[in-house]
Assembly symmetry: C2
């Protein structure tokens, strides 16, 4: 039989695309098979626990990407202001190239998925925490810094909703720009 020699990482990327477009419930195995070209056999070879396994793998890949690209600038910020700029730029680029869908946000809907609840919580909690700490280091008082971080993360997520609803990617650009400015408002 045909042997396409598929990599698991490729499968995860392809799955992410389908989940983004269809949602987890909308991505039936037949649809996945059709849109990725990966057969059931391969799917269950790479993800023995089935669809939940695929969901976990996809979320882990997103998380890894954020750790490397979005959170990294915030972990050892020599220049906190520059780090804020870098992280927001990375976020904007990421979602614009992913059809304005955050897979972690998708997981907060269609409940009865306590399976991934902790992963979702820590994704957002870490994001807010790291951003708040950096803003504080840039010279904003603790409580105010945390509030600004919460506002920024919420703004990004809300911008994604709005961009999809209005079918207008510039919403993301605008909101992210203004959020970045607001994070460092009143500083040197």
């Amino acid at each position: 039989m045909a042997r396409t020699v598929l990599d698991r990482a490729d499968a995860v990327r392809a799955l992410a695309g389908v989940f983004r477009k269809r949602g987890f419930d909308g991505a039936s195995l037949s649809v996945v098979q059709q849109e990725t070209g990966i057969g059931r056999g391969s799917l269950y070879h790479f993800f023995p626990d089935g669809k939940e396994d695929m969901a976990r793998a996809v979320l882990e890949e997103v998380r890894a990407w954020f750790d490397e690209q979005v959170f990294a600038p915030l972990r050892t910020p020599e220049d906190p202001a520059a780090a804020v700029g870098a992280t927001m730029r990375a976020v904007e680029e990421y979602f614009l190239s992913r059809h304005c869908v955050c897979l972690y946000a998708v997981m907060t809907l269609g409940q009865d998925r306590p399976a991934h609840a902790e992963a979702v919580r820590s994704y957002f909690a870490d994001w807010v925490e790291l951003l708040a700490r950096t803003v504080e280091q840039a010279g904003v008082a603790g409580d105010e810094a945390r509030a600004r971080a919460v506002d920024a993360v919420a703004a990004v997520q809300g911008a994604l909703v709005l961009a999809r609803a209005l079918d207008d990617d510039t919403v993301v650009t605008g909101v992210v720009d203004r959020s970045r400015r607001r994070l460092l408002d009143g500083l040197g």
Copy 2:
């Protein structure tokens, strides 16, 4: 047979609850039947076109509520600043009592639902437009007013995502408070 004499409006409210908790795909007819106590027969009596019909009815009910409670203060604002305060207060109260789920936001995910795309678009477009106009009347320049309106609506939607993920309703309270202040920042 038992005749509970059910009202269609009651059915819509009950359906909204199930859709909020489970999402549209997660709310199978069996689940709906079980959680609302409404049998299949009644469901298809009130909503002859099936699940799509139920979705439409639920969205229409939400839209009507927003028209009356959230958009109304923005339609003939004698005191624009007060209107902004009133609309944001209504929004906060609405979502806090609805488990932090916006059904229109739910519809922007799990695509291949072009059926409701226009309703979703106009819901958000009207919201932004009305808010922008009121902020402008309060004394903010046109472009800036629109940017502030986009930011506020996005902030609300993002706050809902964050509140669910972190299981912390105070996120909504905080974000909405700060958004309201920001809408009218720099005014008398």
